[in-house]
Each structure stands twice: as structure tokens, then as C-alpha cells.
Amino acid sequence: MKFAIAVFSPAHAPSSRRALLFAQAALAGGHEIVRLFFYQDGVHSASANVVAPQDELDVAGQWRSFITEHQLDAVVCIAAALRRGVLNAEEAQRYQRPAVNLPAPWELSGLGQLHEGAQSADRLMCFGGD
């Protein structure tokens, strides 16, 4: 079956980790993830500048490796990302900001990608809050 997964929380929230564990279990069970969509504070789960405390899980890093390893389509909402300072090279240049914290495998795009992902999947799973 096909899943679309939307993450509304930053990497330090338990729900971001739940989304990751769900995604890992879905792939392990032979299912497909057609899209991951990071929305609202979920864009912080995509930031390359997140530094997890040494005695805590690096969930942002785990997302990055998971997406890279399985070559998943991981979209970060561009409007939510810009207002939270999560920028790729193109946007940092466009708005003349000093830093880039959204390298590959992430892609900046619009909310339409969430809608399209939900339409092409059998289930849309949303994870947010604590």
C-alpha cells in the first residue's frame, strides 16, 4: 500500500520520532512512501543546523539518513520554511541571508505537494504535537 506522511513538529518533539518510526515500519513491511511532507514547525525536522544534545537521539539526522538511504521524496513547505529561517541555497541567495541549512535530500515546494501526495496515496498519516 502507499503512504503519504505529513510531519507538523520539529525534530525534538516526540511526534517527529513517531513519524520516523512509522515510516521505517511501513517500508520494512513492504509498503511504499510516496511522499514525506514537512509542514509548519515540521520544517525544523529538516534543518541541517539542528544539534541534538549528546544524550538524546538525533532525530533530524535520522530523518536525513533515512530519506537518503531510501531515496524518498521529502518535501519541505516553502512558506513555512522561509518564515522559520530554513533555507536552501537558492532562497538564501534570493533573500540575501547568510546561511543555508536545507541541503539535499530535502526539497522546498508548496502545499500543493501535500495535496498531490494525499491523492496518490492510500493513506495520509499526519504527525504533530507532542
Binding site: 503512504f3 516526540p14 511526534s15 518510526l21 512509522f22 521505517q24 511501513a26 492510500d122
Partner: protein, 99 residues
């Protein structure tokens, strides 16, 4: 059309659980995860409302979140792991997360 409702907020902090129970259809399921598993605390008002809602066979809780909070599932609740969560989401037509 059946819906799996997923709640992750503590029932002691807001009205999500009571709103959800009011809306829950007879074929719908309810999965408690994160702080929402505190609803299963023995002797609590949220547990009483769950028990009064006739949820036999359709009340679930994430095992990991139960263990992390030293709460046991009890007789009315089925504890599930992440592969069980994936399977459960496919047993219902839609999944609605109470974000």
C-alpha cells in the same frame, strides 16, 4: 466509511479526547499514543469515559509509549508496536490525527 482516530495529547490538558469520543462512529477505532496514553491511568476520569464508550476491540495504544510511562493497557485496550500501527492504519478507510 471507518476512521482510525489518533490522539497524542494528554487528556488532562485539553478536550481532544472527549471531543473525539463524542464524534466517534460505531465502526471507528481510537489509537492513543504519546501523552494520550495517560487516559488509561487507573481510576481517572478519562479512563471512565473510555470504558463508558463501548470501545471493545477498537481501542489501541502504542506499546512503547505505555512502557515509557509505566501504564498498562488493561483489558479494554490492545497494545501495538509500530508494525502493528502500520497494519492498523490500513484496517480503516481513513486516519484522522487530532493534531
Amino acid at each position: 466509511m471507518s476512521t482510525l482516530h489518533v490522539i497524542s495529547h494528554s487528556p488532562f490538558g485539553d478536550n481532544r479526547l472527549s471531543s473525539c469520543l463524542r464524534l466517534l462512529g460505531s465502526d471507528d477505532g481510537l489509537l492513543l499514543c504519546g501523552d494520550a496514553v495517560y487516559a488509561l491511568q487507573p481510576g481517572s476520569a478519562p479512563l471512565a469515559s473510555l470504558q463508558a464508550s463501548n470501545l471493545q476491540g477498537r481501542l489501541f495504544a502504542l506499546e512503547e509509549d505505555l512502557n515509557a510511562r509505566a501504564i498498562s493497557a488493561g483489558e479494554t485496550t490492545r497494545a501495538i508496536d509500530y508494525p502493528g500501527f502500520v497494519a492498523l492504519s490500513l484496517n480503516y478507510d481513513k486516519v484522522n490525527s487530532w493534531l
